[in-house]
């Protein structure tokens, strides 16, 4: 497949391209869903193809095809050049590409158990065991169990001499209980919502999660939520669990620092960003406790790789340092546009079919110290919330509202009762500036986000966010309810 990449970039060069890179990608996947007593989904899939990106006189073109022959590779290169020529005639603004060594390398995800070698019946049985347990709890409306596995094998070459092969494997699993009394629907998921936990690991992830022992717990919590009091409505101290912090990072830090958004390139769809370039180095994004790193090298992260989809080596860098905005997520061209010396390696595509665009790598809040109990002990009147249920933020990533599956009211340093429909809202920088405590490394988890949408045509990307539970002062909390 390396030969096909080389043939494609060779053809682009022959047709006059000033730069080209090509990716051949094989993807294998397995999706399993058990819904109540039924096996709702058993999907085994594979797809293969080549995508080539071409620069011609400052105009970009991208074409993709499933035809994996030398003739097909050269033909798709020809299409990309034709499109790039069309772009070049329309006065593009090309900023140049910052240099990157021409890596010749191999990278693969370290895994212990190849998930594709575990029999489907074993996986389905495990999920069925969980849903059967959940269904035994009164008021249960629906029980779900999910597993998802993916292996990507990718070859990359460019006209600068890079030649890279990567094998990336990820696994995911989760369970969910939905309970209803006819007036409300309460949901509890383990270990988090949106399909569960996802990591670049093998089947060992599923074993580590120990789904069956958590099935009765979430079922009972979903039932108990039906009669729990509503979340209080007030300005209170708020403790979030790590998985909700992960989504908070994703929406209010990760997307805000994507340099294509900052530069207006996503304005028509995903939006722009308040975190404009003049704020770099002087904008107080969070309290001094808040240091957030972008890291394509975090073990187990969904965006952990050797090289991004334009051949830039995976890196780790600070984007928020002790509360100050210090850096962005970049590609070779956007790095050039802001005068950076090197791309941070954030250009990634959804499959071979799509043009790589800036996507988050793993973006994580560094841990503090102590335990979640220490955070609770520091709260007089507050709420603790866990596991995301709804999420919404404006197109400049300023005003957000999140809802969680479950909450607990805190008084005088103690969790006193479960509360339902907990929500909170705020302004991005005010929220992060109110951070008053972060639990320590023992409570830090890298949470996978397998379904991040961006771009036109829409592309899906995967990344992770590491976080410990954290405390925020005086946040607007309220119950999501019909008035």
């Amino acid at each position: 497949m390396k030969d096909l990449c080389l043939a494609a970039v060779d053809e682009a060069r022959r047709l006059g391209a000033q730069f080209a890179d090509a990716r051949v990608l094989f993807t294998e996947r397995e999706e399993l869903v058990v819904r109540n007593e039924r096996i709702a989904t058993v999907e085994i899939g594979e797809d293969r193809g080549i995508g080539i990106r071409v620069l011609f006189e400052g105009g970009w073109g991208f074409a993709a095809s499933r035809e994996l022959t030398e003739g097909g590779a050269r033909a798709v290169a020809g299409s990309a050049v034709e499109i790039a020529r069309a772009s070049a005639r329309m006065k593009p603004k090309y900023a140049g590409l910052v240099p990157e060594p021409a890596h010749q390398a191999f990278y693969q995800t370290p895994i212990i158990i190849d998930p594709f070698t575990v029999p489907i019946q074993d996986k389905v049985s495990l999920l069925q065991q969980c849903t059967e347990t959940i269904l035994k709890t009164p008021s249960t409306a629906v029980a779900y169990g999910w597993m998802s596995f993916q292996r990507k094998r990718q070859w990359f070459a460019n006209t600068e001499g890079a030649l890279i092969e990567q094998v990336l494997v990820r696994s995911g699993a989760g369970i969910q209980a939905q309970a209803t009394d006819g007036q409300q629907l309460q949901v509890r998921s383990y270990p988090q919502s949106h399909g569960g936990q996802f990591m670049t690991k093998g089947y060992e992830l599923v074993q580590e999660l120990d789904l069956p022992s958590h099935a009765p717990i979430i079922a009972e919590e979903a039932r108990a939520l039906l009669s729990a009091p509503l979340c209080p409505e007030d300005e209170r101290d708020l403790i979030l669990d790590g998985s909700q912090i992960a989504l908070q990072i994703h929406e209010s830090v990760g997307h805000a620092l994507e340099l294509d958004r900052v530069l207006g390139m996503e304005a028509n769809y995903a939006g722009t960003s308040f975190a404009t370039l003049e704020k770099r180095g002087n904008f107080r994004y969070g309290s001094p406790l808040v240091t957030i790193v972008a890291d394509a090298t975090s073990p187990g992260g969904l965006a952990t790789f050797g090289y991004d989809d334009e051949g830039v080596e995976g890196q780790r860098w600070e984007v928020i340092k002790e509360g100050l905005l210090v850096d962005y997520l970049t590609s070779r061209e956007t790095a050039s546009a802001i005068g950076a010396e090197r791309s941070h390696g954030c250009l990634r595509a959804d499959g071979w079919q799509n043009l790589p665009i800036i996507r988050m790598v793993n973006i994580s809040l560094l841990p503090g110290s102590g335990s979640p109990d220490d955070l609770i002990a520091d709260v007089k009147r507050g709420v603790m919330m866990a596991v995301n249920r709804s999420w919404s933020i404006d197109n400049r990533r300023v005003q957000f509202q999140f809802g969680c599956e479950i909450g607990w009211e805190i008084r005088d340093g103690k969790k006193i009762q479960m509360v339902r429909n907990p929500c909170y809202s705020g302004i991005t920088w005010e929220f992060w500036q109110s951070c008053a405590g972060i639990a320590g490394p023992d409570h830090w988890t890298l949470w996978g986000v397998p379904n991040c949408g961006k771009g036109e045509p829409p592309q899906r990307a995967e990344m992770s966010h590491g976080a410990s539970p954290a405390l925020f002062r005086k946040v607007k909390v309220f119950p999501g309810r019909h008035e």
């Binding site: 819904r35 039924r38 096996i39 709702a40 989904t41 058993v42 999907e43 085994i44 594979e46 797809d47 193809g49 995508g51 970009w60 073109g61 991208f62 074409a63 993709a64 095809s65 499933r66 299409s79 499109i83 790039a84 069309a86 772009s87 005639r89 329309m90 006065k91 593009p92 489907i120 019946q121 389905v124 409306a141 629906v142 209803t180 006819g182 409300q184 629907l185 207006g264 390139m265 996503e266 304005a267 028509n268 939006g271 722009t272 079919q353 665009i357 709804s390 919404s392 404006d394 197109n395 400049r396 300023v398 005003q399 509202q401 809802g403 429909n421 809202s425 036109e456 045509p457 019909h482």
Partner: protein, 446 residues
């Protein structure tokens, strides 16, 4: 890929498969898209792909496997993968036999002008819009896309369900002096004037969106343009699923047959509406019927997949979302009837209110109340004494769609409008509603 090529692949699958019931789903997609921002093209792409899914049914079991390769070896491999998986499945008593031959409503949704458009032609339209914005000292961002998709569901019991469609989409955001203006269109037919009309609408909005004021959160009389209405209605759609209703997970549970909205609300699922021309069959290949969901305020009918319909002793409506009937049904092709009024009429009749262009990032807070949160975007305008007077900064809303449909004062004629965050379109009017719950401000008019 032509229909004949797809059928040849299907025949090969049936020949290679030794499972008595074998079904194949083939999709083909050919897509081109030009994106622009800061008054320049920055992405210009083309992609072509095929997907072949083989479903095998054996002894009340089913499994499926998918590939995008169509040579004989790839087809045999995918048949083998599905065959091996099906033998590992426990029996599923709910599973129904595959359908035999069906007759679907014919639809015409292909325009050869879209099929044959070149990157240069697509780009020329973009350049004209950019030049128009530049002439007004404005900057713009947007996308111009063309797509051909084809879908075949066939099995060795005689089912042959085929649908093909072209789609041309153009959307643009124009940056004015204080805020943005946005407009968008998506249609299965090419219209030479459409991009120009859309660009002019966005420019007009952007120019009007200057010196925005901030109004306090509260309950406002608002006029929602069709795109905003489409964005809200999509979230109540899953509630019409008979499976969800039977499981008490729907806002409609216990209300079927009851008067739940005013006489002015009539809602259909109608894929054959001239503005939709949607896929005339569902995920099982069952022909999709026109269903009256709400009739003059009464919750009239639900949509059914085959499994749920069989369990409840009724006819399926052809709205299944999956081949097993495990996830229920979804009402595609929504059509909300309107009134014989224009948007100008709605504005002119309003003493004080807000005109909302577009909504964004809507999510469900409470599914049984269809309580949603989301934001306004790209143009909110104050209406005073029947005239648009000022631009207003954006809001967050927390609003039940069920309440909203009980507070509709007036509507325009419906038109096809996309829900921008989703690849989804509905035929809906603009509507004026009272007491729309705007709960927070965002500080921006973009």
């Amino acid at each position: 890929m032509t229909r004949e090529e797809m059928q040849r692949i299907a025949e090969k699958v049936f020949t290679f498969s030794n499972t008595p019931e074998t079904e194949v789903v083939i999709t083909a997609r050919d897509e081109g898209l030009t994106r622009f921002a800061n008054n320049a093209i920055h992405q210009n792409v083309a992609r072509r792909d095929v997907s072949v899914t083989v479903r095998v049914f054996q002894d009340q079991r089913m499994a499926e496997a998918t590939t995008n390769q169509t040579d004989d070896d790839a087809l045999k491999t995918v048949i083998q993968a599905a065959g091996e998986a099906v033998r590992l499945m426990p029996p599923d008593p709910s599973l129904l036999p595959r359908l035999g031959p069906q007759v679907s409503t014919p639809v015409e949704a292909v325009d050869q002008r879209i099929v044959s458009v070149t990157p240069t032609e697509r780009g020329r339209v973009v350049v004209e819009s950019i030049e128009r914005c530049r002439s007004e000292q404005l900057t713009c961002a947007g996308a111009h896309g063309t797509t051909f998709t084809a879908l075949l569901i066939a099995n060795n019991k005689g089912l042959q369900a085929y649908y093909e469609r072209t789609e041309r989409s153009f959307s643009i955001t124009v940056f004015g002096k204080g805020g943005t203006g946005w407009a968008s269109v998506s249609n299965y037919r090419w219209d030479d004037e459409e991009a120009e009309r859309v660009t002019e609408r966005a420019i007009e909005k952007a120019k009007r969106n200057r010196d925005p004021i901030e109004l306090p959160p509260g309950r406002y009389r608002v006029i929602l343009e069709p795109s905003a209405v489409a964005d809200l209605l999509i979230f109540m759609s899953s509630g019409f699923d008979a499976l969800a209703v039977s499981e008490n997970r729907s806002w409609l549970s216990g209300k079927v047959g009851q008067k739940i909205f005013g006489d002015n609300i009539t809602l259909y699922s109608d894929i054959s509406h001239p503005l939709h021309q949607g896929c005339p069959f569902d995920a099982e290949g069952m022909p999709t019927k026109k269903v009256t969901l709400i009739e003059r305020g009464v919750a009239a009918h639900m949509v059914y997949d085959r499994v749920t319909a069989t369990k409840q002793g009724v006819e399926p409506t052809g709205h299944s979302v999956d081949p097993k009937g495990a996830y229920g049904a979804f009402p595609r092709g929504l059509v909300l009837l309107g009134q014989d009024k224009t948007l100008d009429d709605l504005i002119g009749e309003t003493d004080r209110g807000l005109l909302i262009t577009r909504l964004w990032y809507i999510r469900t807070v409470d599914p049984l109340q269809v309580l949603l949160t989301g934001l306004t975007r790209d143009g909110v305008f104050l209406i005073e004494d029947g005239v648009l007077t000022k631009a207003v900064k954006n809001f967050r809303f927390n609003q039940s769609v069920l309440d909203l449909l009980n507070r509709v004062e007036a509507m325009t004629q419906p038109l096809r409008a996309g829900a921008p965050e989703w690849e989804w379109a509905e035929v809906v009017p603009a509507m004026r509603v009272t007491e729309f719950n705007l709960t927070d401000v965002t500080g921006s008019a973009e």
